[in-house]
């Protein structure tokens, strides 16, 4: 077993354990902390796939910004005490249906995976996730959506000022 394979199994085990602990732990703060573990493990997977940019962005955005937001919300709303939420039947049914649909997609993917691996996986020579490649694609082929999304951010900024400023 090579070092890459060993790392893959280790990271997978960490990610799965973390994900199960997110659901299993009663304290929401612990759930959030376990979620951070999951994100780190998945970033490790990205590095193994030679997708450095994705790995770094995943850490900064998810493990950094979004997790801090989660923690703030949980602490501000004082949810860190264990509250047994009331679950009604409708919610359970909706959860089962939406979970089942996702499961269906997963089965379909797994079924066609043997076929897909031969076509999509880039083994050993994959450089698609390097920052250099990404930058080139972003500023040549995808330059129009890149520039147009500035309008989106501008409108969000205007909105933040309009809503947030004191009259």
């Amino acid at each position: 077993m090579g070092i890459l394979q060993f790392l893959f199994w280790l990271l997978s085990a960490v990610a799965l354990t973390g994900a199960i602990m997110v659901l299993a732990s009663k304290n929401p703060v612990h759930s959030v902390l376990w979620l951070i573990v999951v994100f780190f493990a998945i970033s490790g997977h990205y590095v193994l796939l030679n997708a450095q940019f994705l790995a770094v962005v995943n850490l900064i955005v998810y493990a950094g910004a979004i997790m801090v937001l989660f923690l703030f919300v949980i602490m501000l709303m004082n949810l860190n005490t264990v509250i047994e939420t009331r679950k009604n039947l409708w919610m359970k049914a909706a959860g089962i249906i939406s979970g089942g649909i996702l499961f269906l997609i997963m089965i379909s993917v797994v079924r066609s995976s043997a076929d897909m691996v031969s076509r999509t996986a880039q083994l050993k020579e994959g450089s698609i996730g390097l920052i250099e490649t990404l930058g080139k694609v972003l500023f040549t082929q995808y330059v129009v959506p890149f520039e147009i999304s500035s309008v989106l951010f501008l409108s969000a900024m205007v909105g933040a000022v309009v809503i947030g400023k004191k009259d």
Binding site: I105, D115, V143, P145, I148, V151, L152, V158, V162, I163
Partner: protein
């Protein structure tokens, strides 16, 4: 390209105006001027090509249909600013910013009429939606406005999530973001229809139905349209909805054909259409407030516009152009009067005909058009939608259902007319200027013109 770039630039111009010009009355004139400029730019592009020579790598494709749709949207916005621009000033303290956001919405709308990849569809939908969340909440002291904005934001964010999930699945199934992927180019020459692509398209159907407020994804519409300041409801219910429909049509036109072996899209869409017509029309009957009635009626009208997505033929495209024009004109007209009313319940309209005959007459014409009475634009709009369905040769029973529900819609539109003409009362309106009345008469005249001569509009499309 002209409309996208110029409207983004004019949005920024208005942002600077809010710093440089302190007189609030000037902004709407600058906005109207900007709309004229963009309109001229767009018409120039339709016939002579764009001012800007940008290689979009096939991400945007400017068809005659899309450009003509832009013209309709821009003209409707111009009319809206001229009619209701003064009321935008009363909605809140950031007048120039509201106009800025309206221009950004137009930028998103013109992306939606020309997108050629799902990536641009996503950006277009977002540019269209985010300014609307803000405009909905612009009346900051009003709790209902706050509630509407939050509701709209949360539900909109959720539907964006579904949209993105759908795009990701379609990408997984076909290996491309492009709208039209040649079947031979799909990864590894996979022959059949991919499960992932079909699932993704179903997600896209849900997300787009949400954006055009089709049942059963309409729950946000009444609350948001009712809670938002009336002047922005008018904008949301017309220009934004029409742009979303243009995108809906474009998306399904490109994708449905390949996947129809796996999913019966016609059946799915007919279920959505019938439930939209049912919920929109029947609930509108029971409303006490005209504003809320118009919100439900806009759901019902969305049901009619969905016939274009259902039939996907040339008649449907023409029909959508006509429907977008007729519906936008009439709704902008009705809302312009509604904004001036002190009391927006049905009782508030009692006796308006005696007090202000011009307002009452123009409102009546607009309402008749919404109901689809002959000699108004709404009649030919509905007519061409139904003939598009008949042309597909299947599901002709939908036509019967649609006509029945159009008859139901006449009931609640006529209630307003009845209140204005046949009931005694003292309808209170704000001061209306002579220019406002002239514009209203112009709107009514256009509604009748397109009702007598729908070709007057469609000839431009083929010219």
């Amino acid at each position: 390209m002209n409309a996208i770039i110029l409207s983004a630039i004019w949005g920024v111009v208005l942002m600077f105006c809010s710093v440089l010009i302190k007189n609030k009355g000037v902004y709407r004139h600058i906005a109207a001027l900007g709309l004229l400029v963009i309109l001229a730019g767009n018409i120039h592009e339709t016939y002579h090509g764009s001012f800007f020579n940008i290689d979009t790598h096939e991400m945007l494709r400017f068809s005659r249909f899309g450009l003509f749709f832009n013209t309709i949207l821009l003209a409707a916005t111009l009319l809206y600013v001229l009619l209701s621009g003064r009321d935008v000033e009363k909605a809140g303290g950031y007048v120039a910013e509201y106009f800025t956001l309206i221009f950004f919405v137009l930028c998103g709308a013109s992306i939606l009429t020309s997108f050629n990849t799902l990536l641009m569809l996503f950006i277009g939908i977002e540019i269209l939606s985010i300014p609307l969340y803000i405009l909905t909440g612009s009346d900051k002291r009003n709790l209902r406005s706050n509630e509407a904005a939050l509701k709209y934001f949360l539900m909109g964010a959720f539907s964006t999530g579904i949209l993105l999930m759908g795009i990701a699945l379609v990408y997984g199934g076909t290996g491309s973001f492009m709208l039209e992927v040649p079947r031979s180019a799909i990864m590894g020459g996979y022959k059949g229809v991919s499960f992932l692509e079909v699932t993704g398209l179903l997600f896209l159907l849900v997300a787009m139905s949400f954006k055009v407020s089709a049942a059963p994804f309409h729950f946000w519409t009444p609350d948001v349209y009712d809670g938002a300041p009336s002047v922005f409801t008018s904008f949301m219910a017309t220009i934004v909805k029409a742009a979303a429909f243009a995108a809906f049509l474009k998306l399904f036109e490109a994708r449905v054909g390949d996947t129809s072996a796996a999913v019966d899209w016609k059946l799915l869409l007919s279920i959505i259409i019938v439930s939209t017509l049912l919920i929109g029309n029947v609930t509108a009957v029971f409303q006490q407030s005209v504003k809320r009635m118009l919100a439900y009626s806009s759901i019902a009208q969305a049901g009619f516009m969905l016939f274009a997505v259902f039939s996907l033929n040339d008649v449907a495209k023409e029909g959508l152009l006509l429907y977008a024009t007729a519906y936008s004109l009439a709704t902008i007209g009705v809302f312009a009067v509604l904004i001036k009313m002190k009391d927006v319940t049905f009782e508030g309209f009692n006796g308006l005909a005696r007090k202000n005959p011009v307002l009452a007459a123009t409102t009546t014409i607009c309402l008749l058009s919404l109901a689809g009475i002959p000699l108004t634009a709404g009649f030919f709009a509905k007519f061409s939608m139904l003939s598009a369905v008949i042309k597909t040769g299947t599901y002709t029973w939908l036509v019967v259902v649609a006509v029945l529900f159009a008859a139901v819609s006449a009931y609640y539109y006529f209630r307003v007319i009845q209140a204005m003409y046949f009931k005694e009362g003292d309808a209170q309106t704000e001061e209306v200027t002579g220019g406002f009345k002239v514009l209203l008469i112009a709107v009514a005249a256009l509604v009748i013109l397109f009702g007598v001569q729908p070709q007057a509009l469609l000839n431009w499309f083929y010219f």
